[in-house]
Each structure stands twice: as C-alpha cells, then as structure tokens.
C-alpha cells in the first residue's frame, strides 16, 4: 500500500471499499513467452484487478546444467561454454574464470593482456548497459530509445569484433593471457600478434561518440516526465534486501550499497585507472536506470585511459601444452554488467575441474522480485522487471 500512497492516487477509503466488495483474485500467468520477461521466465501472479497481491517467479526454462557440463570439460573448453551464461556479456563471463585458473596454476598474464582484458570487459559492460537502456524504456512504452541505444551499441560491438572475431561470444581469453587477435593466419600466429590496425583511434572515436549517446539519453529519457512518473518510488530495494538476497552490481549500488568488485579485488588492474563508482540512495527503478547510465560514462573513462596507456609486451605467458591445474579450491569474482559473477573452482589436480560453482548475479537479483511486489500494480511489475536487468541465461545457467 505504501507505494500507492506515494503517488497520491489511492487513499484509505479505496482500500475499505475493496474489502467490502471482496472478489476472488485472479491468477495471471505471465510468461514463459511474454514480451517483457527477457526470455523464458514464468511469473505466477495473483492479481486483484490491477494490483499484484503476490508473485512467484518460476525459473528453469533456460537451465542448461553448466555446473554438470563443466565436470566433463577441460579448462580451455570451459571458457567457450561459460561465454553463454550471460549472453549479453559473453566476454566478461570469461575473465573471473580465467583469473581463477591462473591463480591456481600460478601463471600470470602479461600486463598488455591484462589491459586488453580491462578494455574488452568495459566494452562489454557498455554494450550490456546499452541493451538495458534500450529495453527498459521500451517496457514503459517508449520505443525510440531502443533504436538510439542499439545503433550506438553497434559501434562497441564492431570494436569487440575487430579484436576478438566475435560479437557476443568472443572466447578470447586463454589461461595466461589472451588469444592472438582475430584474422591472423598461420604465418602470423607464430608472432606475438597485436590489436588490429587503427584500434586505438577507433576506440577513441567510439568513446567520443558514446559520450554523445549519454547526453542524448539524458534528454530523451532521464528528464521525461512520464518516465519519471513511472519509475520514481517504484520497486524500492532496501539495503537490507541487498544483503539478504545477495543483490549485486548496479541494482545494489542504486540502493546505496556502494560495493564494486573492481575497487576491492585485484582481479584485473583496475587500481591503475581513475574512475568513480556511481551510487544512488533511493533504490527505486529510476535509481537503477541512473546508475547504469552513469556507469557507461565511467566505463568510457576507463577505456580511454587503458587504451592510451596500453603497455607493450607479449599477449600471453608461457603455458604448458597440457594444462594441469594443481589441487586446490579458489573463488574469484568479477564485476560483470549484471553484478558480482564468481567461480568457485575445486580442482583435484587434473585437466578437468572436480566441481565448479558458478555464482551469477541475475539469479540473486531476480530472487528479490516477490518482495518488491506487495501492493504494486501490473504496470509497475513490468517496470520493476525491466529495471532489475536480468538475463535468463544468467539466472538459470
């Protein structure tokens, strides 16, 4: 009831009327095929008119059993597989896993490879956030931001493709560094290959262009009265929710929990760059939008610094032909676009891990959904779903 009171439209008298004229609620099955469930998510909602009284998310339609599949694959093969977990951020999925294996095997990736990882991770973050900027207003009925975001996402994906050869699933990391860049034939493979020609200039141009995109979005979406009316004060995640459910990433930072793995863990050399962690305190849909928009700007800063300070040297350290990972247990996490993604690897000394627990951000972020529903209206449900920015592959693994 509290969210309704804030909009000033539903008053106590209405509540008493609906008690007097009590009608049985309706069960509304939303999904698995529905325009705003971002894939195959099913929501079983109890609705009383427009009001959602309770909601249960049913997941598992995208369950591919990665934690079992990785138990029959060697480490190099796993990198290909985990690309598909969060398909909007294929590259970022690889990094924590590769870093974990590097730490277990005590192989260190060269500086240049580390910088390339930072650049590509941040590009992935921008492309994932641009996808959010396209889908979130669309769910609120505005279809034009989609076109602007997707157009400019193309500039980022083109750069990603020029380096890795892949737009969505680069499979670019190797234990001990990164793969030689795309397009290299067998003759050039022997040499230490570098980034494609013109990459730095093209990246700087992209950074400039994407700054313009952020300004466009400020004008088209951020200040839009209807957008504000739909998102302010809707679906409030409290810091307590963040801790209880393990909500991470932009969703947590929108609720005032200013934690970012990039600042706290040295999984990539983020300490060499100057960037801020945008946080908001309201925890509503608008805050989640604002944090993501601000994160694009910070990521652009990081890319600009990394590209212009790119150290020279090899792309990959010397790695044994057959990679055996010493026995041990390790957890390494990274800051993915959706939040904290981590791999708990248990190795028994072979070429295949004994167990890998994959901690994905969307899984925890989605679990909080029923808590945000009490008294929300059906249109709010769509706004909240959109603002949580989950990917079903990341939820179900």
């Amino acid at each position: 009831m509290s969210t309704l009171d804030q909009s000033g439209t539903v008053h106590i008298s209405d509540a008493s009327i609906s008690v007097e004229l009590e009608t049985p609620g309706m069960t509304l099955n939303i999904g698995p095929q529905h325009p705003s469930t971002h894939g195959v998510l099913r929501l079983v909602a109890q609705v009383d008119g427009e009001r959602v009284s309770s909601l249960e998310p049913m997941i598992g339609y995208m369950h591919r059993g990665y934690e079992k599949l990785v138990e029959v694959r060697n480490y190099a093969q796993i990198i290909t597989l985990i690309n598909r977990i969060d398909w909007t951020a294929g590259y970022a999925n690889e990094v924590p896993f590769v870093v974990a294996v590097e730490r277990l095997t005590e192989i260190e990736a060269p500086d240049r490879a580390q910088y390339i990882r930072v650049i590509l991770t941040e590009m992935t973050r921008i492309s994932a956030h641009l996808l959010f900027l396209s889908s979130f207003p669309l769910e609120l009925g505005a279809s034009t931001p989609l076109m602007y975001a997707v157009r400019d996402r193309e500039y980022v994906l083109e750069l990603l493709e020029s380096v890795t050869g892949g737009r969505f699933h680069p499979n670019f990391n190797r234990v001990g560094g990164v793969k030689p860049v795309a397009g290299g034939g067998s003759t050039t493979k022997k040499q230490s290959q570098d980034l494609p020609a013109g990459f730095i200039a093209a990246t700087n141009a992209m950074v400039k262009r994407l700054r313009g995109t952020c300004v466009t979005f400020d004008g088209l979406v951020t200040g839009n009265e209807v957008f504000l009316a739909r998102t302010k004060g809707v679906g409030i995640i409290t810091p307590d929710h963040v801790h209880q459910y393990g909500i991470s990433g932009p969703n947590a930072r929108a609720s005032g929990v200013g934690f970012d793995v990039r600042k706290h863990e040295a999984y990539l050399p983020y300490d060499k760059f100057d960037f801020a962690i945008p946080t908001e305190t309201d925890g509503d849909c608008f805050s989640r939008y604002a944090v993501r928009l601000a994160e694009i700007r910070e990521s652009l800063k990081i890319i600009e610094q990394a590209v212009n300070d790119l150290p020279g040297g090899p792309l990959r350290s010397k790695v044994p032909r057959i990679l055996k990972v010493p026995a041990g247990e390790i957890y390494v996490r990274g800051e993915n676009p959706k939040g904290e993604m981590g791999y708990y690897i248990v190795s028994e000394g072979g070429r295949i891990p004994y167990r890998v627990k994959i901690r994905t951000a969307s899984y925890s972020n989605l679990a909080v959904l029923p808590e945000l529903m009490n008294g929300a209206l059906l249109p709010d449900l769509v706004a909240i779903l959109g603002s949580l920015d989950f990917v079903l592959g990341d939820v179900d693994r």
Binding site: S7, V10, P137, L138, G141, N224, R230, P379
Partner: protein, 336 residues
Amino acid sequence: MSFAVLLTVKVLAVLGLMLGGALVVIYAELKVGAHMQNRIGPYFAGGRFGWAQPFADALKFMQKEDLVPDGADDRVYKLAPYVVLMGTIGVFVVLPLSPRFVARDLDLGAFYALAISSLTTLGVLMAGWSSNNKYSLIGGLRAAAQLIAYELPLVLAVVAVAIQAGTLSISGIIEAQAAPAFSIGELNVALPYILTGQIIGFAIFVVASLAELSRIPFDMPIAESELTMGFVTEYSSIRFAMFFLAEYAGMVSMSALATAFYLGGYQLPGLSATAVEVLGPVIFISKVFLLSFLFIWLRWTLPRFREDQLQSLAWRWLIPAALLNIAITATFKVVF
C-alpha cells in the same frame, strides 16, 4: 438526384474519406516513426518510398487464418471489430469538408459525433470480454475505465466551444469561427477558436482524444509490454486489421473534430467565402493531417502512463480545468 443515388454517393464518400484518411495516416505512422528513430521505414512496396505498404499489410492480413480461441464467446467475439469500426465510421458522416461538402449536417452534430465515437469503447470491451483471455479482459476493462474518465473532459471541452459558438452543429461551429474576431480599420480578421479563448479547451480535447484513441502515452488497453496486445491479443486476420484500421481512422476522425472545433475547420483567416468553397476540403484535410502528425510525434517520443496516473490526471486536472474553461467562456459570452 434520387434519394438512392444520393445515398450511394454519400456512403461511398464517407467510406472513401475514412479509408483514404486512415491509409495515409498509417503510412505516415510507418514513415514518420521510422525517421524519428533513424530508420528508413517502408521502402520497397509499390516501387517508390514504399507507398503501397498499407495496402500490402491489408492484403497480408486478409490471407491469414481467422482464429477464434477455444472457449471464446463466439458471436460477441466476431461482432466486436464491427462495432469498433462502426463507431469510427459514424463520425465521418457529420464532418463538413467544405460549407457544402458534408454527408449529413445534423443540428446536434457535435453531440452525435462524441456519442457515436464512444461506441468504439463498447466494441473494445466486447473484444476483451469475449476473447477468453485474461490479458484481453484486463485490456478491455482498462479501456472502459479510460472511457469513463476521458469522455467527461472531452464533452466538457466541447461544451465550452458550443457556448462560444452558440450551436451544436459542426458546420455552425465552423461558420461561427468565420465571424470577425476584431477589425483593423476596414479589415475584419476572423480567428479560429484556439486563438480566441479556447486554448485550454484545445489542450484538454487533444489529451482526452489521445486517451480515447488508446494512443501512447495512454495506450494502456493495448500496452504490449504488459498485456501482450491487450484486447486484440487473440485477434488475427481481417478482424485484427479492422481494429488496426479503426485505430487510425479514429485518429483521423478525432483530428477532424479538433480541427472543426478549434482550428476553424475549412476556414483559413484571410480567405474569401468563394475561395473557401473551393479550397475547403484541402484546408480541412491539411489541418487534420497536421494534428495526426502531432499524435504520431507524441507516440514515438513518450513512454506510457500507468492506469492510475491516467485516472488521476483526468479527475484531478482535466475535469476541473474543463469546468473552469466553461465558466470563463460562459462569463465572456454573457459579459461581451
């Protein structure tokens, strides 16, 4: 001319006007929307500029299978699109394109137009109820709630116009706007009502007709991201096309009413009566398309309101504003 011939001509003219107007607006929606979004829009159909895209779409719809969902209320389900379309066509009967070019000039034209256009909501409610689909049902009920909330400011806005014009006939209202508002020496200047006191009324009328038409930012009865497609979720084939046509024909008819009530209809300031006689239809249709463009522009710019925010806007802002508008108009009418 015998009655039968005259009737046939009138029916054909009304249908032609409705279909022609709707097809042009559909094409404009595709093309204008595309350019607002950095796209090209229809390009191939018809050879140039994709001008035949609306026709191609209509043909495509006709070829689809006409599905009736299991458990649907068969007769109501099949009737609903006709009701919606009839409510829209009905308005065109009283639209005067020029002083003489009008199918039927009713004395209560404004009253009739507003009443018959409400029929579409009945059709929408029928579609939502009979589809045996919960999304359709919610969509239909939203449409009904929207009708109750927005019919009132719409009518109240027109009441002020009727007071100022002193008539409920649409032609009469347009003629009243030809009366000189002021004169500079010899020159009598006639201005449309939007410039002579009805600017608030015009704003209310446009907002309320957006809600009547279920267009963004008030497209909650359809709301494809919430209710898949609202009351049209289950429709296919030609019945879907009828809803589609009714939406755009409704846009033309609402724009035409706003043109007649506020923009001076077929009049243009400074044009002589004989010139109006000839150029009337062109002027009227240009104004209609200008307003339709405004509707399209809004649609590709704004997100969607929430149902309760819409109700709050109607009851807390538009209706009091409309009442105030009536009071002011009436005062001026009596005093001057």
